[in-house]
């Protein structure tokens, strides 16, 4: 240490100075030796420096207060120290000091700038001191003076500066830091580590513009520095400098440089080259950006979760995938994510995360989310990893992406597989089903073949039966006709009884033949539309009678039963046959039910029926039932289980034939001991048609006669009977046994009004004869009769089946003569006309008809009628479209009743006749007679009957040109 310094020269040079300072002269003695010099002590005491004066024994002569305080001496005043030895006051004083004291007392002046001083508390302070001898007036050394001051604070500052300097130097030797100063003109005044290949001397005294290649770089730098000079506040900036074609980046720190007065004199700057860091950061940014772009392009969201806080960073894509706006909503990202995850999937996703964080298993989860923006459900898959070992990692990083498309594809594939399996299963089932169906079909085919065999057998039987039956018809025609003629001529009642018996027997034979023919399906059926409900109700009493008193009969007709198309008589007979069978199956009584119900086309039908709607009429009994072998033969003709004489064996056969011929079927279900159910299946009628009047009313005798008829039949028994009927009706009859004879006889007669001919004859047959006759007399009406109605369907011809009654023959003759009666309606009208005057007018009108046309006005003479006064004649114009009417003639009785003459006028809608204009129009339109009536009674007036008959007339036989009418008013006697 150089702190203690021995300076002989200074000691010699400074001694007088110091002595002078204290005012000490040679004669002054501070202690002991001086005695009376008391002024010295207070002077020293007040000295502002630490000062002590010793004698040659190092006893205190004087000391300053500062000395006491600096050395922390616990005495009240400097005077307390006077006379005490220095070594007594500082007993621990090192020996070095004793040497120094001796040297000073020997005449040396000693000093030190910094001398360590160990305090009592162990602390070291640093002391600057000077010690010099003082001399008495005789020049001898009287003692020593010590002046000192502690310099610890100054020493510490110096030390700090030194260390700082050392560190700064060390720092500049490390990284490329440029430190420099610039003055207010921004000229470099000092620089360390200039960098960029510059030497300090190239820089000092210059500005940036002279140092750097690009003026704009220099300007940018100067702008920063001027800002600092202007504001007096330091700035940190990152700056770019281009040098030799390369970009370099520096972190620049600029501080104002101030003088002692605080005025800014320039700037102190430090610049660190961060080009490499900049490059790395840019590369990192680029890499990060590439990753983000790639992730975004892949539709991949990226997440980065801080495990300590649960906070996360998401990429934009992550937000987009979840449909969450990037703006915060107060919830953590993790909570927002969980809010989107499907409730059913959240547990699995949480568990995957937990295992990743706790066990370090890479995070993988597949889950559904409901997109927050639109609620659409999507499938997501997430992968993630920790950034360190479990327990030490701080982050979980991962990606999430949408796998909905893949899921759908998987689902479709799965469905396709399922569908394939399903179809294989279906196909297998279908094949099994087809196999079963094939077996069933084989079985049905066998059954059908059996049915066919049975049908062929029945057909053969039918052929045989039909042939025999037709021959019988001729026989019966002769027998019946003969009995009918006999009956008309015999007056003896006893004889008449035999005729009646014979006639009845023949009728029974005829019925039997009809049934045979019905079975053989040779008989012509007359199918009409039948309402089953009406039919069953109308026949209820007959059926009840047939069933007998022991049988409880009930009728069960389903509502709205459809109409059927069948021959009404045959159907009635069929029902009666079934009823009789049922009765015979219940000898001790039982329950008989006849029912009707619809079976729609979509319901199961018997196999041999064509598809369509059917009505089933069923006769059900509670009788003995039939064994299978009987049931199998039940419909065969002549097969019967009844005792001889009770059954014909034709009942079920007839029903069977009727059903088949009507397009239906007969089905019999029977269980022994339980009963039998016979069902007649009939096709539903296409529409409700009209039912021909079943009754055959006798024709009006007044229409017959006054004509010549040719009767041709090779059967000598039948022909006379036919001729007999016709003669009885008042006709002139020519008989012929064959076609040739017929032609000759017709020529001989000159004129024939109608030819009636058998169809099958030796030689020329009926049709051939008809052709010849028509060649001779065009328009000659011809009526064919035959016992083989089925074999000769004569197109457009009128055919009468043998045997026939005189009534049937009469009706056909009238029809062919064009005298009406051919239609049931006209017959009905005739029957309804009860007032004689109207019947008379109607018959006169019918007789006036020729060849089926309407009578002419000339042929129909109104004045000949008994009620001519009530008749009228109307002229019709513009018929039939818009007919207009004008009265030509009105009888007197009508004129009287109306009170004015109508002839020449048009009908007035307001009067009794005129109001009937609708009736006129109807009559013109239909070309048929119209009858109207009204019976009324009002208040107390007597009842009135009004009747009117309108008859169409025609000049040409076709278009109605006139109407003849009869109108009657009658007061009916009031019944009491």
């Amino acid at each position: 240490m150089h702190l203690l310094r021995q300076d002989q020269d200074r000691a010699a040079g400074h001694k007088p100075g110091m002595a002078g300072l204290f005012g000490w002269g040679r004669g002054n003695r501070p202690h002991g030796d001086t005695g009376g010099e008391t002024w010295l002590l207070p002077l020293v005491a007040q000295t502002p420096a630490a000062m002590a004066v010793f004698d040659t024994d190092m006893r205190y002569v004087a000391a300053s207060f500062r000395y006491l305080s600096d050395f922390r001496l616990a005495v009240e005043s400097p005077s307390s120290l006077v006379g005490r030895s220095h070594y007594e006051v500082f007993p621990e004083i090192p020996d070095r000091w004793r040497d120094l004291h001796r040297r000073v007392l020997a005449g040396e002046t000693l000093s030190a700038d910094q001398d360590p001083f160990l305090r009592a508390d162990g602390q070291t302070d640093w002391l600057q001191w000077e010690m010099a001898p003082w001399r008495r007036p005789d020049g001898s050394i009287g003692g020593a003076i010590l002046v000192s001051s502690f310099v610890t604070a100054r020493r510490q500052a110096e030390e700090a500066l030194r260390v700082g300097e050392q560190r700064y130097r060390a720092a500049l030797k490390g990284p490329p830091i440029v430190v420099f100063e610039q003055d207010l003109d921004l000229r470099y005044s000092w620089i360390e580590n200039p960098g960029l290949g510059h030497q300090p001397e190239e820089v000092i005294g210059r500005t940036e513009f002279e140092v750097f290649e690009y003026a704009e770089d220099a300007a940018a730098l100067q702008a920063i520095k001027r800002e600092v000079i202007r504001t007096g506040a330091g700035l940190r900036r990152e700056v770019r400098l281009r040098h030799k074609g390369l970009e370099r980046f520096f972190a620049l720190s600029v501080e104002p440089r101030r003088d002692a007065a605080g005025a800014t004199t320039g700037v102190i700057c430090a610049a660190v080259d961060i080009t490499e860091r900049h490059r790395i950061e840019a590369a990192l940014r680029e890499s990060e950006s590439r990753l983000l772009v790639a992730a975004e392009a892949a539709g991949m969201g990226i997440f980065d979760i801080d495990l300590a806080t649960g906070e996360a960073n998401w990429s934009a894509e992550q937000f987009a995938l979840l449909g969450i706006p990037p703006s915060p909503d107060g919830r953590s990202h993790t909570d927002r994510w969980r809010g989107c995850v499907h409730p059913d999937d959240i547990a699995a996703a949480d568990e995957a995360r937990r295992r990743c964080i706790v066990e370090g298993i890479p995070y993988h989860a597949v889950y559904r989310i409901r997109r927050a923006s639109d609620g659409v459900e999507r499938w997501m898959e997430s992968y993630g990893r920790l950034d360190g070992a479990p327990g030490q990692a701080t982050r979980l990083l991962g990606v999430m992406f949408d796998i909905t498309g893949r899921k759908r594809a998987e689902a479709i594939l799965r469905d396709a597989n399922t569908e394939l399996e399903h179809r294989v299963g279906e196909r297998t089932r279908a094949l099994t089903e087809a196999g079963r169906e094939l077996k069933a079909e084989m079985r049905r085919r066998e059954e059908a073949q059996a049915s066919l065999l049975q049908a062929q057998k029945l057909e053969a039987l039918g052929q045989l039966t039909g042939g025999v039956a037709h021959d019988f018809n001729n026989v019966l025609a002769a027998i019946l006709g003969s009995f009918e003629l006999l009956s008309a001529r015999i007056t003896d009642e006893r004889l008449r009884r035999f005729v009646t018996i014979g006639e009845r027997a023949a009728r029974r034979a005829e019925a039997l033949v009809r049934r045979l023919l019905a079975f053989a399906r040779r008989e012509q059926l007359t199918p009409v539309t039948i309402e089953p409900a009406s039919l069953l109700r109308e026949n209820a009493s007959l059926i009840r009678h047939a069933a007998g008193s022991r049988v409880d009969y009930s009728l069960d007709v389903a509502p709205e039963t459809w109409p059927v198309l069948a021959d009404v008589h045959q159907l009635e007979v069929a029902l009666l046959n079934l009823t009789v069978n049922a009765r015979d199956a219940m000898p001790d009584g039982g329950q008989l039910t006849i029912s009707a119900r619809n079976v729609a086309a979509d319901q199961p039908l018997p196999t041999d029926l064509a598809p369509g709607d059917y009505v089933v009429l069923a006769v059900q009994d509670s009788g003995t039932g039939m064994p299978a072998e009987v049931l199998a033969r039940a419909t065969e003709p002549f097969f019967t289980t009844k005792e001889p004489g009770r059954g014909t064996g034709l009942g079920l056969a007839m029903v069977h034939g009727l059903a088949l011929q009507s397009g239906g079927a007969l089905r019999i279900h029977s269980t022994q001991g339980e009963g039998t159910r016979a069902e007649i299946w009939l096709p539903r009628a296409a529409a409700r048609m009209t039912e021909p009047d079943g009754a055959e009313p006798a024709t009006d005798p007044g229409l017959h006669g006054d004509a010549t008829l040719l009767v041709v039949d090779d059967d000598d028994q039948v022909r006379p009977v036919t001729a007999g009927f016709l003669r009885d009706l008042g006709y002139t009859v020519i008989e012929a046994a064959n076609a040739e004879a017929a032609e000759v006889l017709a020529h001989a007669a000159g004129s024939v009004d109608l030819a009636i001919t058998d169809v099958v004859m030796p030689g020329a047959d009926g049709p051939a004869l008809a052709a010849r006759l028509r060649a001779e007399w065009p328009g000659l009406p011809i009526l064919f009769v035959t016992g083989h109605a089925d074999r000769y369907r004569l197109e457009g011809e009128k055919v009468l089946a043998k045997p026939f009654t005189s009534v049937e023959l009469g009706r056909h003759v009238l029809e062919r003569l064009g005298r009406g009666g051919g239609t049931a309606a006209e017959t009905l009208l005739a029957a309804r006309l009860r007032t004689p005057a109207l019947r008379e007018a109607y018959q006169a009108w019918r007789r006036a008809r020729r060849g089926g046309g309407l009578p002419t006005p000339a042929a129909f003479d109104l004045s000949a009628l008994s009620e001519a006064g009530s008749s009228f004649l109307v002229a019709v114009s513009n018929a039939p479209d818009e007919p207009a009417f004008r009265y030509l003639r009105v009888g007197q009785a009508l004129t009287d009743r109306l009170g004015r003459a109508l002839a020449g006028t048009a009908p007035d809608p307001d009067d009794t006749l005129g109001s009937l204009e609708d009736g006129y129009r109807r009559c013109v339109r239909t070309g048929a007679p119209t009858y109207e009536y009204a019976r009324y009674r009002m208040a107390s007036e007597p009842p009135v009957l009004f009747e009117r008959l309108l008859l169409p007339l025609s000049d040409d036989g076709a278009t109605v040109t006139h109407l003849a009418g009869v109108a009657l008013f009658a007061n009916i006697p009031v019944e009491v």
């Binding site: 009209t690 009905l828 307001d910 009536y933 009204a934 009324y936």
Partner: protein
């Protein structure tokens, strides 16, 4: 089956019909329409629905005379009938035969007072 249904031609036809249970009215083989005193249709049976071809809509109303009884369609006569029917004091029967082109070859109509005012119109269409 049901008991005996009234016959169209019986004298007390209106009373017999009124005695029938309501469902039996629909089993009548002829049309039955009841008009109240105001001429409005209050009863309309199934047969009429079916046979008239008008379905659920009554074929007849106040002016049935002009529609089916043209022979009574005179202003003076019709007025008398209207008044008499409204008073429940009229018996009318009318009909025609002979329109062969129509399924209704014979039409018969009875108009008879109903108990308590108005009248029954009973229509029988005889098809052949």
């Amino acid at each position: 089956m049901t008991g005996t249904l009234p016959d169209f031609d019986q004298d007390d036809l209106a009373a017999a019909i009124e005695r029938l249970p309501p469902e039996a009215l629909n089993t009548l083989p002829f049309g039955a329409i009841r008009l109240n005193a105001g001429g409005e249709v209050v009863v309309f049976n199934d047969a009429e629905k079916r046979l008239s071809g008008f379905g659920d809509r009554p074929a007849l109303g106040r002016h049935f005379f002009t529609q089916i009884a043209p022979c009574m369609n005179q202003p003076g006569f019709r007025g008398r009938i209207d008044r008499a029917l409204a008073a429940g004091d009229a018996e009318i029967e009318f009909g025609w035969i002979g329109d062969f082109s129509s399924p209704e070859r014979e039409l018969r109509v009875r108009v008879t007072p109903a108990t308590g005012g108005g009248c029954w119109i009973l229509i029988r269409r005889e098809t052949a």
